[in-house]
């Protein structure tokens, strides 16, 4: 008897990743980041999603900065977003969505790096497995118009499609 195991494919949808924080099914959202910190130890996170995250959560840059100093430019679990919309430490048995940093580039001025996106995607799968995350939201990695400058269909989608399954939802703004 043969058993066929079919790998499920990552999902794609239209929207804004931050709106998924209100979706009770969301286990985590990912913010695309670079590897730079300033002389105060704060992450350089002014553009794109990271810029919005910096404005939403005043401790985002310090948490990301600490993660970068301690672990380097790798995927990091920065905490969770509580019911009041604050970024706090991840709690055991919490239903709040986690916030995960996802490196796509080293220097904030440079374009995103496909190899780094691939590495980050693999690290994200590992974290999702360890934490049993069933719905992880992220944008089109490295494809920001003025930031990442990669092409989704040609440069990035083929990489992620090989790594992600249907637990991962790629959200693109119209």
């Amino acid at each position: 008897m043969f058993i066929t195991i079919e790998k499920t494919i990552m999902q794609e949808t239209i929207g804004d990743i931050f709106n998924f924080l209100q979706d009770p099914q969301t286990d985590a959202i990912c913010i695309f980041t670079n590897g730079m910190t300033n002389n105060q130890g704060l992450a350089m996170a002014g553009a794109g999603q990271a810029g919005i995250a910096s404005s939403k959560w005043t401790n985002f840059r310090s948490r990301l900065g600490r993660h970068l100093r301690e672990n380097g430019n790798i995927v990091g679990l920065l905490g969770e977003i509580n019911k009041e919309g604050k970024l706090i430490n991840r709690q055991e048995k919490s239903n709040n969505p986690s916030l995960i940093s996802f490196p796509t580039k080293q220097h904030f001025l440079n374009p995103s790096i496909p190899k780094l996106i691939e590495q980050s995607a693999k690290q994200l799968v590992e974290i999702a497995n360890n934490l049993r995350l069933n719905k992880v939201i992220l944008g089109r990695a490295g494809c920001g118009f003025a930031t990442g400058r990669l092409n989704w269909e040609n440069d990035v989608k083929p990489i992620l499609a090989d790594i992600f399954n249907d637990r991962f939802v790629i959200v693109n703004m119209e």
């Binding site: 931050f18 709106n19 209100q22 002014g46 910096s54 939403k56 919309g85």
Partner: protein
């Protein structure tokens, strides 16, 4: 999708949205006001102590346009570089001395230094530097600390209330050193 910086009334932004029925990624607006319920105590300017609303020139310049821009879903992220922060940024002789050595970094800065030299010779108390601050925020929003809010109008004045998931942010504090770095063009 594009970004816009506005240093005046919002008529042009409103017309743009109406005429092209398009979406904008981000609009940085010089204007608005955040009062005591939004601004942490350590960041409050004495002149605004106890206030929740205030008239602000650019939003009052075209009120229907301001309301349209505030309410529209066509703009993903709105950042207000507001009076409660702008009024703490004065380009005075001291700041001029810090900026002047970098004047040859680019032509714009060279013109700015020339212009401010002329201005400070006439008015030595300095110049409120609202619009350049908004422009620098458009380059790097982290020079300002923001709070997520909803903007409202009451009795002819503007205010802000803390809110979630509005993607509308108002300034509460400035990283002065980083602002000047952006202004002179060093990353």
């Amino acid at each position: 999708m594009y970004n816009i910086v506005s240093g005046a009334g919002l008529s042009c932004v409103a017309k743009y949205l109406d005429k092209y029925n398009t979406k904008l990624n981000e609009v940085v607006i010089q204007g608005g006001f955040a009062g005591d319920s939004v601004v942490p105590e350590q960041y409050r300017l004495a002149k605004f102590a106890g206030k929740e609303t205030c008239p602000t020139f650019n939003l009052n310049a075209d009120i229907p346009a301001a309301k349209l821009v505030i309410d529209t879903k066509q703009i993903h992220t709105k950042r207000f570089v507001s009076k409660n922060v702008c009024h703490g940024v004065i380009y005075d002789q001291e700041m001029h001395e810090r900026i002047r050595p970098f004047r040859h970094n680019n032509k714009g800065l060279d013109m700015l230094v020339d212009g401010m030299e002329f201005y400070l010779n006439q008015k030595n108390r300095g110049k409120a530097f609202h619009d350049p601050l908004a422009a620098c925020v458009a380059i790097d929003p982290t020079i300002v600390e923001f709070r997520e809010v909803e903007i409202y109008r009451e009795k002819g004045e503007w205010g802000a209330r803390l809110a979630q998931s509005t993607n509308t942010f108002i300034s509460v504090a400035l990283d002065r050193e980083r602002f000047e770095q952006i202004l002179i063009g060093t990353n």
